[in-house]
Every structure is written in C-alpha cells, then in structure tokens.
C-alpha cells in the first residue's frame, strides 16, 4: 500500500489518535486527574474510547461517499482494531479490576442486566472482525468476509444502547442524562443511512455533479 510519495500522514495520524486515550489515562493517573472513583473512571474512559473508534470506523465509507477522498478507506482496519482494543481493555477493567474476577457475580450481572449483556454482545461482535482483519482472511474468505464484517453495523447499534443505559435517564423518552448518547446515536444512525445503496448512489451522484459543475465553471 505504501505508495512512493513522502510521509504517510493519514496512517500516522490514525495511530497517534489510537494511542491517545491510553496516553490520556496514564497522564490523568500520574497527575491526579482521575476521579476519586478511579476504577470506574478508567473503565468509562476505555469504554468511551471504544465507542469513538467504532463510530470512526463506521464513518470511513460515508466520508468516502461524501468527499470522494480515497485515502481514507485503508484507515478503516486500524480504526476497527483500536475499537476492539479499547473494548477489550474496557471489559478486562470491568471483570478483573472492578469485579475482582468474581466469575459468579460477573455471570449473574451478564444474565440479569441487559445493559451489561449488550456491552458484552458488542465486544463479541467485534471479536471475529478483529480476528479476520488480516489480509490472509480477506483473501481466503472472499465474499463471506464482507458479509461477516457487516456485523459491525449491529455493533454500532448495540454500543449506543449500552452507552445510553449506563446513564441515568431514558433515551427514548428524552428524559435525563441522555444528551451525549442521543448525539452519538444520531451520528451512528446517519452513518448507517448513508450506506443504504440508494442513498449512497444519490449522494455520490450529487457530489460528482457538483464537482463536474465546478470543473465546467473553471474551464469556462
């Protein structure tokens, strides 16, 4: 993929963003900026990082549809893998540090609390995607690879509900601490809508017409 010209800044930028949440947790810990409930603070920071990267990976195709900017496409894999990394660290913090690896209690929580079950579901949906993210599997699985990786759309929905249910409020009644989950949810919905083939064709057709008109105007 590395194609001659100069510094691969989009790739470097993605990796800088990728380590930023972890770095900011370390920075916060070393400078006393975590809350007085540090386990929960770390757990929530990791969860939010997973959300950000999952949404970023969902944004790649729509960004391409809207802008026609090709070099964004190869960044999707790294974004998805960072989402999985932070989701895993979030789960490990929950299970090992928060609940001290108390398997009985963790099992009860997963079975009794849909909010936790949905978080686990999101992580389990990302697991096969992370495992098959290598070129080897992409080649070997052919068409099946693409179908499998559509699971990320479901993960995009479950992660929002998991996030909303972690807060005091009712997302669907628009009551309580729901502003952030609501905005993230609307973003995910628009990213999914932009994937509907008809919408996508309409948008990229419009973009090409606009771009075409620009050229005509310039040449005139």
């Amino acid at each position: 993929m590395s194609r001659d010209k100069g510094f691969p800044w989009p790739r470097v930028l993605v990796h800088l963003l990728g380590v930023l949440p972890l770095a900011s947790i370390f920075f916060a810990a070393l400078t006393g900026r975590l809350t007085f409930n540090p386990i929960q603070d770390i757990e929530q920071r990791l969860g939010r990082a997973a959300l950000y990267f999952l949404v970023a990976s969902l944004a790649v195709t729509p960004i391409y549809t809207l802008t026609g900017w090709r070099s964004v496409l190869p960044r999707r894999r790294a974004l998805g893998l960072y989402a999985f990394l932070y989701a895993s660290l979030h789960f490990i913090t929950f299970a090992v540090i928060d609940y001290g690896f108390d398997l009985r209690e963790i099992g009860r929580l997963i079975l009794e609390k849909p909010f936790i079950l949905l978080g686990l579901t999101t992580g389990l949906l990302l697991l096969p995607l992370a495992v098959t993210s290598f070129d080897y599997f992409m080649r070997k699985m052919g068409k099946k690879w693409k179908s499998l990786h559509r699971l990320v759309y479901i993960a995009g929905v479950t992660v929002i509900i998991h996030y909303a249910w972690a807060k005091k409020g009712d997302l669907f009644a628009l009551q309580g601490d729901i502003l952030k989950p609501l905005l993230w949810g609307l973003l995910v919905v628009s990213l999914l809508v932009l994937r509907i083939p008809a919408v996508r064709r309409g948008v990229s057709g419009l973009r090409q017409r606009v771009a075409g008109r620009g050229k005509v105007l310039k040449s005139a």
Binding site: A29, P38, I92, D98, E112, K113, A173, L174, G176
Partner: protein, 281 residues
C-alpha cells in the same frame, strides 16, 4: 495481561487506598466506617444542576451564592413560615457520621453537621391531613447552568412520607467536617436520609411543603420503573439496569456488599413493616 498490570499500577499511582478499614473482606459491620476525606467528599459529586460530570461540580459551583437564603415551610401546617438560614441554625446542631449510598453503586462516609428535620416540622405543626413532605431545590438557571437542559423537569423535587421525615436519623445538613456546607454538597442546606439512595437527599432546599398526596419527585418522574418514591437502599431489589448487590466505597479497591437500608435496618425497618419492598421500591 499488560493491560491489567498497567491499570493496577495506575491505581496505585493515583493514590487509591487498597486497605480495608475493617481489615476484612466484603461483608462489613456498619461500625467499621471511616469518614472519607474532605477532598473526596467535595470533589466527587452528583449535582446535575451544575454538571453531570462529578469532578466538574466543584469548580462550577465556586461562584454559587448560598447566602442570603430563605426556606419557605408551608402546605398543611399550622404555622407556615419563611425561615432565614440563620433561623434554621438555631435548631440544635448535631454531628452525624452517615454512609451515603449512591444509586450508581458507590458510597461515601460523611461527617455531617445539621439538625433533625423533626425539630423543624414540630415547630411547623403538621395538620392531621398531612401525610407527606415535599422538598424543592432553588430554580435559578443563572447559578445552575444544568437547569438550562430541557431533558429534566426542573426544579429538582423530592419527597418523604411524614413518618420518614420525622425519623430521628433524617437530617437537614448545614455543614460537614465542622464547616458550613460546601457548595458542591448542596449549600447552604440539604436533606440527608442515610437509608435511602443519595438522590433522595435533595440539595439547596428553598421549599418544604406538607401534602396529603404523594408528591412528584424528579427521578421518579423521569423513569418511574427505575427510581421509586421510596428508593430505600436494598441489595435484593435491583435497579432494572444495574445491580445493587455491591458498591464501591470511595477510596477502596474492593467492592463491599450493600446492606439492607444501607446498614440502618435496626433503626428504620419498622417504618416499612408489612410492606412489600420489591413493590414499594
């Protein structure tokens, strides 16, 4: 594994205290409580009138004006009266070290100063028709930026049954650690009902009203199946979305088992005899 190790060392780095005050595991007697530090108590606050971010409440509340202050006591009472803060400080001030258990499954131990609400209610003389006490927080979006959010039925309201309000544990706190009540904790005065989840203990009270019918309360209005009118701490009655079996005491690494009525069952269980606590949650 690297993640586990690094996160654990982070916790050590940020000064979380791993030692259990009682030197035992999760099940503790209520007597084993050591008060949290002033810094912990005033920098980890749920006070949505300022912010939903617990750390942001302290800086955002810095310019809040707790004086002068007046509290209107009215409704079904023989002696309705508007009290200035100074009038209320004339009620016998006591120190009470109470556990505060948040519905979000964390807890603090706080050395409050204040007066028993029953002293004030006795002076107001509830009529025989009065069955409940309704409390209202100041409505002032200029001082409370969070009150500009359209997602809450502001102002904050809370309520108690009259016998709960008259109970000797029910406190109107006017201070903590011997100082006047800090802004992030609900200055100048707040309710403290130690056997109920923290959100019942309404802050910055401007109105206390005796009523015949059960008053509307903010969280019960937002999500009635999640936040009941009673909201007594009860490890057996889960919040539908998260478990109430355990809690994290701020400053500790291990979780503690949550106690029925937050460990005050001996004092308050009789208020609820014959009631099904899973129905009246």
């Amino acid at each position: 594994m690297a993640g586990i190790v690094s996160a654990a060392s982070l916790l050590a780095a940020c000064g979380a205290n791993a030692t259990d005050p009682a030197g035992g595991s999760a099940t503790q007697t209520p007597l084993a409580d050591v008060p949290n530090t002033f810094e912990q108590i005033t920098n980890y606050n749920n006070y949505y009138e300022f912010s939903t971010d617990k750390q942001a409440v302290n800086p955002l509340s810095a310019n809040f004006r707790p004086t002068p202050w007046a509290v209107e006591v009215g409704g079904l009472v023989q002696n309705p009266k508007t009290y200035a803060l100074e009038d209320l400080l004339r009620f016998e001030q006591v120190e009470r070290v109470y556990r505060l258990r948040c519905v979000e499954a964390w807890s603090l131990v706080i050395p409050w100063t204040g007066f028993e609400l029953n002293k004030l209610l006795a002076e107001a003389e509830p009529m025989t028709s009065a069955k409940y006490v309704a409390f209202t927080t100041l409505l002032d979006p200029e001082q409370f930026p969070g009150q500009s959010s359209p997602f809450y039925p502001w102002p904050y309201t809370e309520g108690l049954r009259l016998d709960e309000a008259m109970h000797r544990l029910t406190l109107i706190a006017t201070g903590l650690y011997g100082e006047s009540l800090p802004n992030p904790n609900g200055a100048p005065l707040r309710l403290v009902v130690p056997w109920k989840y923290g959100f019942k203990s309404i802050k910055a009270i401007v109105k206390i009203e005796l009523t015949e019918t059960q008053p509307a309360t903010l969280w019960n209005t937002i999500a009635p199946e999640e936040y009941g009118f009673y909201s007594n701490v009860n490890p057996e009655v889960d919040h539908p979305r998260w478990s109430q079996r355990t809690e994290r005491r701020i400053g500790e690494l291990d979780r503690r088992n949550t106690l029925l009525f937050n460990g005050y069952a001996d004092e308050v269980a009789s208020l609820y005899s014959g009631m099904d606590l899973s129905v009246n949650y």
